[in-house]
Structures are given as C-alpha cells and as structure tokens.
Amino acid sequence: MSIESVNITKEYERRGKTFRAVDDVSISIPRGKITVVTGNSGSGKSTLLNILAGMIVPENGTVHIDDVELPCLKNKERDKIRGEKIGIVPQVQSLIGGLTVRENIKLQQSFSGGAADEERLAFYIKDLGIEDLMDVFPSSLSGGEMKRAAVVRAISGDHDYIFADEPTGELDPENASRIMDAFRKQADEGKGILLITHDSHVEERADILYRMENGHLTEEKVG
C-alpha cells in the first residue's frame, strides 16, 4: 500500500509567464518508510506535497492513495480521504488560534474519523515534550513548541501517511532530533512518511531520498 503519482505536472502563472512547478513527476510513498524530498527553494517540493495530499489537482498525470485515484474525486471526497488518510505538518505555523493544543488534536481526530491509540499518543506527547502545553493556546507557544504540537496533531489522527513540510525548520538540533525520532517510530509502526526539507540531517535519516530541481525529480537513495 502506498501513495503513487504518475507523470504529474502542475503549472502556475507568475508575473505573466507560465511556470511549471512540477514537471512530469512520478513518485511512490510507501508505508513503513521515510521518504524525503530535498531541493532548493522554488524547486517545486511543496507543490508536489500538496498534489500528493490532494490539496492541488495536477494538470496532467494522476495520484493514487492506496487504490483510490485522487484527481477523479470531487472536492468533498478528496477532503474526506485527506482527513482520514494523511496527517499533514505544514511549513508555516498551523495550529488553529483560539483552540488549545489539546483541542487542536481533538479537532484533527474529528476530521480523521478515528484516533491514535491513547497510550501511543501519550507517548508521543511526552516524547515531543508538549505534555505541559496541552491546555495552552498557540499564541503562547514558541515556534519550536508549535511545530512539535503540529507533529503530534498530525500523528493523533491515526493516519496511514504523515506529510511534513520542513519539519525541522527553525528548530534546535535537540528538538529536530526528537521530531525525527517520532517520524521514525511512526514509520516503524507502518506509516508512510513524506518529508520535504532543506535540512541535511533529515536527508541522512531518509529511507528513500529524492532531489527536486526545476520541477523534475531524481531518486538519489533507496534504503
């Protein structure tokens, strides 16, 4: 079981010119592995993540989540599949303001239609050091705390896949390592992990590593 994309292409208009962010890309995100896509800024990594998560529909090509072909689905069905199958940690601060960390997690679980085993979730909460932050509003959290809370939120829905865009960005080495450990444990539990990053430490922990340049993807390492 995996997420597969075949020959996907996505173009944008930028300053009146057409810009191809993702160009004929095929990729597989298997369960039980950490897949890392690295590349320079503007290379199309985040667009690729959004296409694979069904948040953007490609102009060409197709994406399968397990046996379901995403581009053929209606928006509502894609939202449902995403909520159930993929936990996402975006690059930017993504905790919902006005809701505590605990409520953010509960909200994610209500979209997921299921929840991670409580004992396992408690383990991740402790492991990522946010047990004292569960009843705190995002506005009172530091950037690193928010990122760790967002990771726990993504894990909390018991999704089959976890996608993270620059998960270790702006984090100190210790916290970056804690997050990577959490992803490794998730992969060991059978989840498919996709990480988009600039961070060489993340690249080192990849099972499968891709490099993206000008919308093209090349495979560099298969573990």
Binding site: G42, G83, I88, P90, Q91, D165
Partner: protein, 401 residues
C-alpha cells in the same frame, strides 16, 4: 470536537471582528424591538380607544373640541361648561338613539387636591358610555359618593383621593387602556355636584356660579349615539347650526388618530428596514473582512480534512451565535429603555399607548431575534462559501513552490 464547540471557542478566544458583528446585531435588535413595541402599543391603544368611545358624536362648547379630544387621547385636564337645555333639543332630533350629558372638571395642582387630573362626571340614569366598561371591569354600579380611578392615578396611602379639600374613598380602579381614561377619575353627577361646590370655594367657576342643582343646568358635553342606519354626518351638520356648540365625530377622531399612528408606524417600519439593510451590509463587510483575515486558518482546516461545507457551517454558526447574543442583549437594553418610560413616551406622543402583555412581548422578542439572525446569517453564508473555497495553496505562500 463538535463544530459548535469550535465556533464558541473561536468567538471567545480567537475571534477577529466578532465583537463588531455582535454590536451591530445589538443595534438592530434594539431598534426592531423598541420600534415594534412602540408600534404595537399605539395600535393597542387605538383599539382600546375605539372600543371605549361608545358615542358616535360629542357636542361640546364652541372652541372646546381640542380639549375634548385631549381628555380621551392623553388625559389632558380641561374644564368647560354649557347650558344643559340643549339636551331636550338633541333628544328630539331624528336619528338620535341616545343622549347623555357629562361634566369635565380639572382638579388643581395644589394642596387641596391629591393630583391634578381630569374628573369626569356622568349621569347614571342616561349614561351609555362610561357605565358599560366600568361594569366590564367590576360587577358593581357606582353609588352615591363613590369614586372610580383610572389605572394611572396615584392614590393616597389609604386608597383615597382628595379633591378641593374633600377626601373620597376610591371604590375601584379600572384596568389600563392606554388612553386618557387612565388619567381620569369617574364620579356620578351627585358627587360632581359636591365637587363643583367645593371647587367654587377654591376659586374655580363652573356654569353660572350658582350653588345647588348646578348639574341640572350646566354640563360640559353631550355624548350621542345615532340610530342604526342614520347618517352621523347629517346629524352632526344639523347640530352644528347651533352657533354655541361644536361637534366632534368619533369616526373623524379615530380616523385622525389612526392616521397619526399610521405615520408613526410607517416611520418605524422605514427605520427598521434601513437598520436591517445597514446592519446586513455592515455584517457582510465585516464577515468578508473576517474571512480574509483568517484565510490561513481555512487553509489549515482544509488541510486537516475539513470540507467546504464544514467551514461554511463554522462561519455561519459564528455569525449566528454573535447575532443571537447581540439580539438578546439588544432586547434587554431596549426593554430597559422602553418599559420604565412608557408613560413618558405616551405623554410625549400624545396618542393612546397600551403596551403589549407578556405573550406580545415574547412575540416581538422572537421577531427581533429572527430579523437580527437573518441579517447575521445571510452574510455568514456568503462569507462561509467564500472561505470554504480557500485553496490550501495559501499555506505555501510563506514558503516556496
């Protein structure tokens, strides 16, 4: 986590512009509630006036028409007298079914009188106007020396009223009508005879200033009921030939009051509609502003698996909660502004004013809430639909492609 929990939490801890929606909802609700209560009260006052007028025509001394209308509409005290000999002439006219004399005497704003009000004397033998609704409220007939007070008359501590230095027991108090009748006291002619004599000692002249039997010779007005099928206009015209009297037709007075209330009602309706439109537009602008300010939030929610309809429902619910809270507070504030000062409002308007009972207030409250909710919900639906369409791509704007 239920959507209503999210909406409430967002409004309490993370709202952008929610308090403005609340404030405008409050303003609309206040306007609708106060306006409808005023309108309903005037309409009910008119109904009571129409119901209790009793007579088709009033014959008053020349120049006293406005004073007579003031007694009925706002209870403004007046005093007038004319020769009672006209009574027989009126009784003999074709088309007239009943005639009864009344006497209007104004009490003084002085230590000899409890309150400066209108005292209305009626003749129990011929009366067809006052007695029916007194007996409607009380199963009693006024006897010698009895006095009945309107609903707005403040009685002395021991249920008495003093007029021109003499104290009277108040036998009963009438139900509120919202008309000038609430500010009057009612006495039979024999009591009125005594009052006129006492008033004379205080310097108030009624009739020719003679003593006993004054009510046999002088009255303030004749109230007339015309026969079925008779033309009141023709009869009024015939009476008007007497140069010493003026004629007030009830239908004309009612019509003029109805017109006055109609104008006020139209103004209130226009104000309500203007407020409705303004508040709906402002709420729409605020909602669009709030939606734009929270674009990243919608994108995150979409990313987490929220559907377009979920986001629409969230924004709609937020608007409904704020509108509902604003509406309820608006009703409470309007109640505090309208009900304690209803007597002052009635005095200022100079028209019959009879506030609605609890069922009426509940009805007006529900209407105010409904109208306020509509003006909050419609922009909520539009803004919610816009928010639901937010592309998750917004999330990448801070990052790269």
């Amino acid at each position: 986590m239920k959507i209503r929990e999210v909406a409430l939490k967002k409004l309490i801890y993370g709202s952008i512009g929610g308090s403005a929606v609340f404030l405008f909802a409050l303003l609309l609700s206040f306007t609708v509630f106060a306006g409808r209560i005023l309108d309903t009260s005037l309409t009910r006052g008119l109904g009571n006036l129409r119901e209790r007028l009793g007579a088709d025509i009033a014959v008053v001394p020349k120049g006293s028409e406005t004073g007579y209308q003031g007694i009925l509409l706002s209870g403004e005290p007046v005093e007038c007298s004319m020769d009672r000999s006209l009574e027989d002439e009126l009784r003999s006219m074709d088309g007239i079914e009943e005639v009864t004399p009344v006497i209007y005497l104004a009490s003084l704003n002085a230590s000899c009188c409890s309150v400066p009000i209108q005292i209305i004397g009626y003749d129990p033998e011929t009366d067809f106007v006052t007695s029916p609704w007194i007996s409607e409220d009380y199963s009693l007939q006024l006897g010698n020396g009895d006095l009945i007070a309107g609903a707005n008359i403040a009685l002395d501590g021991n249920n008495t009223l003093t007029f021109f230095g003499r104290t009277y027991d108040v036998k009963a108090r009438l139900n509120r009508t919202g008309t000038g009748m609430d500010k009057s006291v009612y006495v039979t002619f024999d009591v009125m005879e005594q009052m006129i004599a006492d008033a004379r000692e205080k310097g108030i002249e009624f009739g020719d200033g003679s003593d006993a039997g004054i009510t046999d010779r002088y009255v303030s007005a004749f109230l007339i009921r015309v026969e079925d099928g008779a033309d009141a206009d023709v009869i009024a015209g015939r009476i008007s030939r007497n140069s010493l009297v003026s004629v007030v037709q009830s239908k004309n007075m009612i019509s003029s009051v109805t017109d006055g209330i109609g104008i006020i009602s139209k103004i209130l309706t226009i104000i309500t509609w203007i407020m409705e439109i303004i508040v709906t537009l402002v709420t729409a602008i605020l909602s669009v502003f709030r939606v734009n300010a929270r674009r990243k939030e919608w994108a995150v929610l979409r990313m987490m698996g929220a559907s377009e309809s979920w986001i629409l429902r969230l924004i709609l619910l937020e608007n409904i909660i704020m509108s509902c809270a604003g509406a309820v507070l608006g009703i409470i504030l309007a109640s505090l502004a309208v009900f304690p000062f209803s007597v002052n409002v009635a005095d200022a308007i100079g028209l019959p004013y009879y506030g609605p009972g609890l069922p009426g207030i509940i009805k007006v409250s529900l209407l105010s809430i409904l109208i306020t909710l509509i003006s909050g919900a419609l922009p909520g639906i539009i803004a919610g639909a816009k928010a639901g369409k937010t592309d998750c791509y917004v999330l990448m704007r801070d990052g790269e492609n």
